[in-house]
Symmetry: C2
Subunit: 193 residues, 2 copies
């Protein structure tokens, strides 16, 4: 029996991604978001939504660029902190002793210690309500070379990204391999028989 | 050492959500997507991106509504199938013996057997490139009542949603609880000291 929870921003899973930007003094800032997702294949684009009040919002509006750094499970505490503190009040890189690296492709920094980073140039932004949605073209994806499988693909288990449950406020790791995409579904017919 | 993978639509985690819609004959259709995410808190909105060639694209353009049904791990095969077959060629509900239920709030069906469903009315759509992005206002979230904790919150472990790694094409379950959000990060200072 289904129970109504009302109109609320809840669905699972949501990501845990850290948005890198520079402020007007070139100070690197980093902020964790769960409101985002890939939104286009060609060009490859990823969207993030921010409240105007965030320090990151102003940074991205000026520089028209951001990075996404994907924290592995071991950086859950830092990722949570990046979503709580504001770059207006504190230097989050300095406090956590994590390392900002200037992207060579876009005007934004990423987190050296995190296993996957995306370098994004803003191509659109849309006002929705409480949040502004930025659409960033993914100019490059970089990954730690020891996080690749023998076949040169990203190894989900080694990377061990975080998964978020909004409203309930829980971080989980990723679990067991369940199946291969575009494969296990072949059990059912693709055409009427 | 970070290695470049090039410009591609890759980041983890991405969701596995099934989009419900009606075609022009009122036949329910269901399609799995990984390109999506929450994009606003007030009003609560979730975005999905679709290629124009999909059957679901035309359905949503006409009805201006969709549902998202979140499959639990036990429905990984069906979820994969929903992302491979087209509603133009086959009745995916019929083939999998899953049950379409007409939403009372929006002009779209959801999957009765899946633990969480969202009913969404389209408020915007944007052309990006290969994909059109739909922004749906979440009018209600419904959850199976045996998937709630004692405190009445969604139980991530019981729901057991799928997590997707695009490009590498892998479904994973969610794993262990790592920490509470807006809590574990308090280890670091919120203001300069």
């Amino acid at each position: 029996m289904k129970k109504s929870l009302g109109s609320r921003p809840f669905i699972i899973p949501t990501p845990v991604w850290c948005v890198g930007s520079y402020d007007s003094n070139d100070k690197p800032n980093i902020m964790t978001i769960a409101w985002g997702g890939i939104c286009c294949s060609k060009p490859p684009c990823v969207t993030i939504s921010l409240r105007k009040a965030t320090y990151t919002y102003g940074n991205i509006m000026k520089r028209q660029a951001y990075t996404l750094s994907v924290p592995s499970e071991e950086y859950a505490i830092e990722a949570d902190y990046f979503g709580m503190a504001s770059g207006r009040d504190v230097d989050k890189f300095k406090e956590t002793a994590l390392t900002p690296i200037k992207s060579e492709l876009v005007d934004a920094p990423f987190v050296e210690e995190f296993p996957i980073i995306l370098e994004c140039g803003v191509i659109h932004h849309h006002e929705i309500g409480s949040h502004t949605q930025f659409i960033g073209e993914i100019l490059d994806v970089k990954i730690e070379d020891d996080m690749l499988t023998k076949e040169g693909k990203a190894d989900m288990e080694k990377i061990s990204p975080l998964v978020f449950g909004p409203v309930i406020g829980r971080y989980h790791s990723i679990g067991n391999f369940v199946g291969k995409a575009f494969d296990i579904g072949k059990k059912y017919p693709l055409k009427e028989q």
